[in-house]
Amino acid sequence: MRSRLALRALALGYLALLLVVPVGVVFRRAFADGVGPVWDAVTTPEALHALWLTCLMVLVAVPLNTVFGVLCALVIVRQRFRGRALLNALVDLPFAVSPVVVGLALVLVYGRTGWFGGWLADQGVQVIFSPLGMILATMFVSLPFVAREVVPVLREVGTEQEQAAETLGASSLQTFVRITLPAIRWGVAYGVVLTTARALGEFGAVSVVSGKIAGRTETLTLLVEDRFQGFDLRGAYAASIVLAVLALGTLLAMNLIGPKGERG
């Protein structure tokens, strides 16, 4: 009984120290003079643009990585071929590589003097120092989540239900839509939440490729840093709060749509 209480206190204390207290302090500081100044700080043109850009990152990266993640998981679990282990390892690469390195790699490939950069510039496409490069960076760092969440679920579900559907006359597409997708839906949903959170919060890789042009290539995370460096603490706190609210909203949505009692 006692050890159970101690364990619980440890878990909660750890969370409080690392999460609740710092986030709480940010909220307190931001709202120290009421809601008005915060509202003003988040409705400046730069802040609104940063919010829009952050949402754009999420809206592009999350759907693409969701589709790719599910495909990837299907290949990893269901197919036997040489190089399967390699694919499995490659999917985890964004976890292992530091985001800053990812950003630098993108600059090397797509920058003006990079492999494709010159050619792309001739076509009138600018990747680095533009939202396009930032989207690429966001997609790279948020790539593994859906695949990682779906792989174990697919393994657990097995192939019998799909085979049953096939013997009952379902086409591959019907089987996928009616049987496979519903069976893995919580894995996909959880993966989407993690991907969204990562895309919202990405800083390092995006920072390297963005060039941090205020009002053009600044996401909310970059805006926070920009304001912080410029001693505009209120602006930094306000932008942080927008990020925190977006993240909390994502988690809340997850809990609302998620299966009752399976995830907390």
Binding site: Q161, Q163, T167, L168, G169, I179
Partner: protein
């Protein structure tokens, strides 16, 4: 519809699952594929269904070559050992699945599902989810689901293997009755010879990827083609160098021609029958099965000396 299997071979890497298997399943029959695990019976069933492609050989369903057709175009109903219930659908949706993907009219689907649920005695369970059903109920739902599309053949892979003994017995009898009602050509896989004997009209014994023998339960039991079948379809005991069925051992209280002396090590009452464990006077053990009535008549007890004689040997054909 009849099923003809022609010289089918199937390997998984080095393992030979099916080695030149041929057999005929007559239209409307109830056939058991019987054999030890790893004998190839499930693989054969999956090849018939189109869930595995054979390396060589053909499958004919109703006289047509079905080998190139995928599972969904073979008109087979398949029932899995672990039910393969669609967990996110209600019982009604599960049973309706085959009709739904064929885009049949809603009211026709509803009527048909109601009929099938009545057939498998699940009328009150239409709106439940598989997780809320017992194993036996889930398997009956799976059966109704397979029957919904009016398959030409019904294939069952160890359908009662995951159920406890009582439910198993019930479902066996029920499957037989169902087959009499629906009369669809049915093949089921089992490793339980008693189940095969009780349910099937024809039994195909598979071992090591080959057909050891095919025939009626009686043929297999009384005229096994080889030692494997003899040992697999029923119990055997040894009296010197003669192999006999334990119920073909005659127990005598006095020595007689051809009898051997034995001591009863243990008398076990198993309901209707009595099992005797015997130690033969000239070495070796044997066991005998006799009716309770006969055992009472002889007043058998542990430690008693009796004389045993083989009434009938199981000769190989």
């Amino acid at each position: 519809m009849s099923i003809v299997v022609e010289s089918v071979c199937k390997r998984f890497g080095e393992f030979v699952a099916l080695d030149d298997v041929s057999l005929v399943v007559p239209e409307g029959s109830l056939t058991a594929l019987l054999g030890p695990s790893g004998g190839g019976k499930s693989t054969l069933l999956r090849v018939i269904a189109g869930l595995e492609a054979p390396d060589a050989g053909r499958i004919l369903i109703a006289g047509d070559d079905a080998t190139p057709r995928p599972a969904r175009e073979r008109g087979v109903g398949f029932v899995f050992q672990h039910y393969a219930a669609f967990k996110h659908m209600t019982v009604r949706k599960n049973v309706a699945f085959g009709l739904d993907v064929r885009k049949r009219p809603k009211d026709e689907v509803r009527r048909r599902v109601d009929e099938l649920l009545a057939l498998v005695h699940l009328e009150g369970f239409a709106e439940r989810y598989p997780a809320q059903l017992s194993g036996g109920q889930r398997q009956r739902m799976a059966l109704a689901r397979a029957l919904a599309v009016e398959p030409e053949v019904l294939l069952l892979d160890e359908p009662f293997g995951a159920l406890d003994a009582t439910v198993r017995k019930e479902l066996r009898a029920w499957l037989r009755r169902l087959h009499e009602e629906v009369h669809v050509t049915t093949v089921f896989v089992t490793h339980d010879q008693e189940e095969a004997m009780e349910v099937a009209e024809q039994i195909v014994v598979l071992n090591g990827g080959r057909v050891e023998q095919a025939g009626s339960p009686r043929e297999l039991y009384e005229r096994p083609a080889n030692e494997f079948v003899r040992g697999f379809v029923g119990p055997l005991t040894r009296l010197g160098d003669v192999e006999v069925r334990p119920h073909d051992l005659e127990i005598l209280l006095e020595p007689s021609e051809g009898s051997r002396e034995a001591m009863i090590e243990r008398v076990s009452l198993l309901g209707f029958e009595v099992r005797l464990d015997l130690a033969l006077a000239d070495g070796g053990d044997a066991w005998a099965q006799l009716t309770r009535e006969r055992a009472d008549e002889l007043e058998l007890e542990d430690g008693q000396i009796v004389y045993v004689r083989a009434e009938r040997e199981v000769a190989l054909t």
